[in-house]
Amino acid sequence: MTTRRAKKVSFNKSSKIVEIDQEEDLNNLDLEIENQNSSRFNNDKNNESNKFNNDDFDDDFDPDTMDIDLTTGKKRKGRAAARADAAAGTAETDDKAPVEALATSLGLIPYHLPLLLYSILSDGTIMNDTAKAIQKTFFNLIAIALIYSVLVGEMAKLQRNPNKKSSGPTGAEFLYTSISFPISVALSIPIYLTFLLFGAPAGPLNTLTFYLSAHVSLISFFPLLNVYKFTDKNAKQIWWKLLTFQVPNWKLNQIYCSSLGGLIGCWLGVIPIPLDWDRDWQDWPITLLIGSYAGAFVGSVASYLYGLYVLSKFKKNT
């Protein structure tokens, strides 16, 4: 318990730093700032800042600048353009809705996922009757995901108002969960379409694909829905950022990492399918299911460990 609180404090401090930084330095884009901020923590300048590094494309094309880009390997940033942008107020809209992250904690790790995964695999029915097994685990997942999401929601509440002692979820919150649940189930439809676009077999395996997308949506989106509630003020902007991967400090955002992990795991899950080992578990969509379960868990754990790392750095510096 003590460790968790310590971390929370650390993060609260860090987020304050973010705000200060933003006030001081308005010349740069706000995304940049936040990344600089994170890089201040982790001394890891290259990857992230470059990732969010968008270059303006001027209509006056000049191959010379292109050339410089290449030889130095870095995009030259038109300072003037950035200033103009800042003045135009694109940065301000971002300020309004910062995506707050929950402090990383052991409690946020979705322990139920590996357990469920184990129960699926040890059972063995998934190899014989995939549809039935996947349906059964889906119902198990629903039950546990509901509990998990309520817990996560509680934690979010606790962290936003650290002074107020919560006496458990209120009725409204239960109502919210019961509404967000069908929403995340409905989210499985776009996920299903995405699967189809990625080359999922259309036809006889449709039901399986749909169950898979329902699983993925419960793993990846349901917890997010409970942290970043759509009833919040800035829900629209926040979700926009979440969906377009414009989350600053995403490495510290455990829930978000877990969702991303679920999706990436699912992506990686296709790898064993073409192999000619003739194993039962190579059937569609078992590997993807395993991938998303494992990915979500690994993502969450990785984010937690990263949080510990940042904390130790932070302590050293202060």
Partner: protein, 999 residues
């Protein structure tokens, strides 16, 4: 760049030479004396089996004076046996099995297992020499050389037998010195669209010859109809039924016509797979039928009470089979000529069992011949185990002969055989010996030349390193100054290295590296050193290492590109991934689209956000739609359903795409107001009409082949019309188009805002072109399409090539190319929006698009999937440039298009610049990146193919993939160097200055 092309070609040649080793051919000819003297002398003088020089026969009195050998190309075994199922290819060739069961003493039907590669030339070689042709020969199917190795036909010739021949002209290419030229009727073999002319030619000529039996001793007929029918329609087609029925009839007639001392042999040289193609080693491809018939009772089958030997259930799955080369000693001995010197086959038991001692002698003779061959051959001589084996056989044989109980040998053996007990009797020993020597040879000839392989791999690796240094690490400005130095340095160093390596090869005489090859090696080393020398002169190694970190990585996209390259290389480590490469490639492309979709939301301007998202969504959608077109390879099995056929709906879709495509291109042009000037003529009229011509061509093709339509309607002119259309279309697209394009179309329009008149005089425009200045005339000149000057005009050139490739692609392939254009255009927009013009990822995605469309235009990385029939679009017979051009355009079309489109990545949607050189250097850099990508892939295939060379699937999966990669690399080198960079992009970029002048 030319230097790179040469360097890589040399590297590939070395590897190919090492990997695809050909067999050592022994020139010795077998003669009667050396073959039988030893064995038959033991028989004693009283024996009736000994031959003497007055007798013209080698073996014991040969039962047959004449033989008729009919080859029915691609006659699969299950075509010839009764089958409860119904299909056009089943139960339409009953004559073999009927004769076999009704007159069992006169006829013999066996399953005939061909050795891969199952191509006709290789099979004929194998059949006639009794040995195993190696893989490299497969490529020479089109210019079959004369077989000088000892073979059946040369033996016939040397024993004064006159050979008559009619049918497939592969035979005349291989055996023309031996065939009696007055009775030789060859027909063109490779026109697979022509089912009947070869067969009719054979039929026309064979019956007169059967009437006058004196003029020939050996009659060879080669029917191609079944094979062509398979290639063109697949086995499951009504044409196959007609063909089989026709041949059934012919064979029946021939059986009646032959004389009593004639042996009739009918066989298929290979089978065909379910799509009608062949070349690989699947069960369907290697199983052919062998049928022997004589009017006098001669054959004796094995006792088969429980129907286990000649078992026709399950399509003859467990039917007794013999190897294809087994026919060689059999024919030789039945006709009394020596067994060809290089033979490795064993005699077919049924053909010799009629005579009680025949089989034991035949089998001993064969063993002795094989032994003789092995002892002559350097590489086979030292196998002690086999030599010992032969020694025991020999001892046993001598013993038995002395006891004069060789009759008993056979009696015992046949008894035991029917009880299927294990025994170590002489005949089995012989058979074992023959089999194991065959086995040994198979292993031996899959031997590789390590030295050449490693030279190839290392050279390719060097070329990769040099490429990376040259194109990525050294600043492109410097490269231009260095170019001349590099060229000079290379020339000088080539001479130096050539001298060195020649000296080396003369002094040390290393094995497997003759002077010519040493010279090539010298050239390769000279080039790589020559390029590196000026670079190393300026920069230190350490500096270059630092540059790697800085230059190679630009941002997250570069990582994505690297990840894809990395994964794509990993593919070649596993046969299953290579098999499913088509799906994997489309998965990656979708991933790119997906990332681009989210990435575009990070743009700052709203319209860019949504445009980017829209384009990436369309990109994904097109990719998905394209990947719906499937043409499966055989290993993909039941999980893949081919839909790559010419069907009515594909024709309809082709028409639709002909209507829609110009509109789509127009709308993309309109984004930058470039649909001006030449564009409307080019795209709206010329391109569209060519597209309609193409669609019409395939409609005719469809009509001509459709069962229902041809039944009611006979259109006589389709053939001529098709040729005319194809020639017109290719003429317009390649020749007229290119000439027109060189003349210089611009997609700009000069609008004078007051007078609204197009000013034809360029000298006036020159002054006003760069800016909207008002001069003393008070007119404002506005150039429409200014924002995309280069791209729009270059794209017209791309369209020329596109039309040519579309013409030779089958309808669904055309559809796939239609999607390719859309994908490319959306990709260019995306690249523009995301600003990843020279980024690694955009080039990688382009190349992946090439791969995707290679697969969706009905190809796979196998020899069987080459669509040979497209070679006959422009000409009826094989004529050098056109047939080859069509096949290359068909097979590698998507890669050609991609290579041509690479410069567009840089020049799409940019206004004119003041420095064309920088622009050109960008283009060169992107082209180099393509080469780097493909070199990495090829390098990995080389290494993996070499590493897995004992893998079960080497010849089926890895080796064809390696050949494809090597071909693509070669092609990219050529196209990028000479066309994209050397000709068209320079042309497009510099044209602006010629017309409008520099400032």
């Amino acid at each position: 760049m030319i230097l790179f092309a040469i360097l890589q070609t040399i590297a590939l040649t070395f590897f190919t030479r090492g990997f695809l080793l050909s067999r050592n051919v022994l020139p010795d000819l077998a003669t009667c004396q050396n073959q039988q003297s030893e064995i038959l002398s033991k028989l004693g003088k009283s024996s009736k089996y000994i031959s003497n020089s007055s007798n013209d026969s080698c073996f014991h009195p040969s039962p047959f004076k004449k033989t008729v050998i009919l080859v029915i190309d691609a006659l699969r075994f299950d075509f010839t046996i009764p089958n409860p199922n119904t299909a056009p290819y089943l139960n339409n060739f009953p004559i073999f099995y009927d004769t076999f069961t009704n007159n069992s003493e006169n006829a013999l039907l066996l399953k005939f297992l061909a050795d891969p590669p199952t191509t006709t030339l290789q099979r004929l070689k194998g059949l006639s020499t009794g040995s195993l042709p190696t893989f490299i020969d497969a490529g020479s199917n089109f210019d079959g050389d004369t077989v000088w190795e000892d073979n059946l036909l040369s033996q016939f010739y040397h024993h004064n037998k006159s050979i008559a021949f009619m049918g497939d002209d592969t035979w005349t290419a291989m055996f023309s010195p031996f065939i009696n030229s007055s009775i030789c009727y060859p027909y063109d073999s490779l026109n697979v669209w022509d089912l009947h002319s070869v067969d009719n030619g054979v039929i026309e000529n064979i019956f007169p010859l059967l009437e006058e039996q004196e003029s020939w001793d050996v009659l060879v007929g080669h029917f191609l109809g079944v094979d062509h029918c398979g290639h063109r329609y697949g086995p499951d087609h009504y044409a196959m039924k007609q063909k089989l029925l026709q041949l059934n009839d012919i064979v029946e007639q021939i059986m009646q016509k032959i004389s009593d001392d004639t042996l009739l042999i009918v066989f298929g040289d290979h089978g065909m797979d379910s799509t009608g193609n062949h070349g690989g080693e699947s069960k369907d491809e290697i199983e052919a039928a062998l049928f022997m018939y004589s009017k006098q009772p001669f054959f004796k089958h094995f006792d088969d009470p429980d129907n286990s030997i000649y078992n026709i259930s399950n399509g003859g799955e467990n039917y007794r089979h013999v190897n294809q080369i087994d026919i060689t000693p059999t024919i030789a001995m039945l006709l009394g000529i020596p067994i060809p010197f290089n033979n490795l086959g064993s005699p077919i038991a049924e053909a010799f069992q009629g005579d009680k001692t025949g089989y034991s002698i035949a089998s001993m003779l064969t063993s002795s011949q094989i032994n003789n061959y092995r002892l002559t051959s350097n590489e086979l001589r030292d196998d002690e185990l086999l030599n010992e084996k032969y020694q025991t056989i020999w001892d046993k044989w001598s013993e038995e002969i002395l006891n004069e109980n060789y009759q008993k040998i056979w009696e015992q053996w046949s008894k035991i055989k029917s009880k299927s007990e294990s025994n170590s009797l002489l005949i089995d020993d012989n058979y074992n010996y023959q089999l194991s020597s065959l086995q040994k040879c198979k292993e031996k000839w899959a031997n590789f030349d390590d030295l050449n392989i490693w030279i190839g791999i290392i050279l390719l690796f060097i070329s990769l390193v040099v490429l990376i240094i040259y194109s990525k690490l050294v600043p492109s400005v410097v490269v231009y100054q260095l170019n001349n130095q590099c060229l000079m340095g290379s020339f000088i160093l080539i001479l130096v290295y050539c001298a060195l390596s020649t000296a080396f090869s003369i002094v040390f005489k290393p094995q497997g590296l003759t002077i010519n090859w040493a010279l090539l090696l010298g050239v390769a080393l000279g080039i790589s050193n020559g390029i590196l020398a000026p670079i190393m002169d300026r920069y230190s190694l350490f500096w270059l290492l630092l540059q790697i970190r800085e230059n190679l990585v630009q941002n997250g996209w570069t990582y994505t590109g690297m990840l894809i390259i990395f994964l794509h290389s990993l593919i070649f480590t596993s046969n299953s991934f290579i098999i499913w490469e088509d799906k994997i490639v489309s998965f990656w492309l979708t991933t790119f689209g997906f990332l681009a979709f989210f990435k575009s939301f990070q743009q700052k301007e709203d319209h860019k956000k949504y445009l980017g998202a829209y384009h990436s969504f369309m990109f994904i959608l097109f990719t998905r739609l394209t990947s719906l077109i499937t043409s499966c390879r055989e290993e993909q099995g039941g999980k893949c359903v081919s839909n790559f056929k010419i069907s009515w709906w594909s024709i309809v879709l082709l028409y639709i795409s002909a209507i829609v495509l110009p509109y789509i291109i127009k709308s993309f042009y309109n984004v930058s107001y470039s649909y001006q000037g030449a564009a409307s003529l080019w795209i709206g009229k010329a391109f569209r009409s060519v597209l309609f011509l193409i669609a019409f061509y395939w409609t005719l093709e469809y009509i001509e082949n459709d069962e229902v339509i041809t039944a009611y309607l006979y259109i006589p002119f389709t053939k001529g019309a098709k040729l005319t259309i194809a020639r017109t279309a290719i003429g317009i697209s390649l020749f007229v188009g290119t000439i027109g394009w060189t003349g210089g179309p611009f997609c700009v329009k000069v609008d004078l805002s007051e007078t609204e008149v197009l000013d034809p005089n360029p000298s006036k425009i020159k002054k006003k072109s760069q800016a909207v200045k008002s001069t003393e005339i008070q007119k404002v000149a506005k150039i429409l399409g200014y924002g995309n000057v280069y791209g729009s005009s270059y794209f017209l050139f791309f369209l020329n090539i596109l039309a040519a490739v579309m013409l030779v692609s089958k309808p669904l392939g055309g559809l796939s190319l239609f999607f390719l254009v859309n994908q490319l255009l959306t990709l260019f927009e995306l690249v523009d929006i995301l600003n990843i013009r020279t980024n690694l990822v955009s080039v990688v995605v382009m190349t992946l698009l090439g791969y995707l469309h290679f697969f969706t235009t009905g190809h796979q990385a196998t020899l069987q999937s080459i669509q040979w029939e497209t070679g006959f679009m422009f000409t009826e017979t094989i004529s050098f440039p056109f047939t080859h051009l069509a096949i290359i355009l068909n097979t590698l079309g998507p890669f050609i298009l991609i290579a041509v489109a690479i410069p567009l990545l840089v020049i799409w949607k940019i206004p004119p610049t003041k420095k064309p050189i920088t622009l050109c250097s960008k283009i060169v850099e992107n082209s180099m990146t393509v080469l780097i990508y493909q070199t990495i892939l090829t390098l990995v295939t080389l290494v993996m193919t070499n590493h897995l060379r004992r893998h079960l699937m080497v010849w089926k999966i890895f080796a064809p993939r390696f050949m494809l990669n090597a071909l693509i690399l070669f092609l990219f080198n050529i196209i990028l160097t000479f066309i994209s960079v050397g000709y068209s992009s320079v042309n497009a970029v510099l044209r602006w200055y010629q017309v409008f002048g520099t400032r």
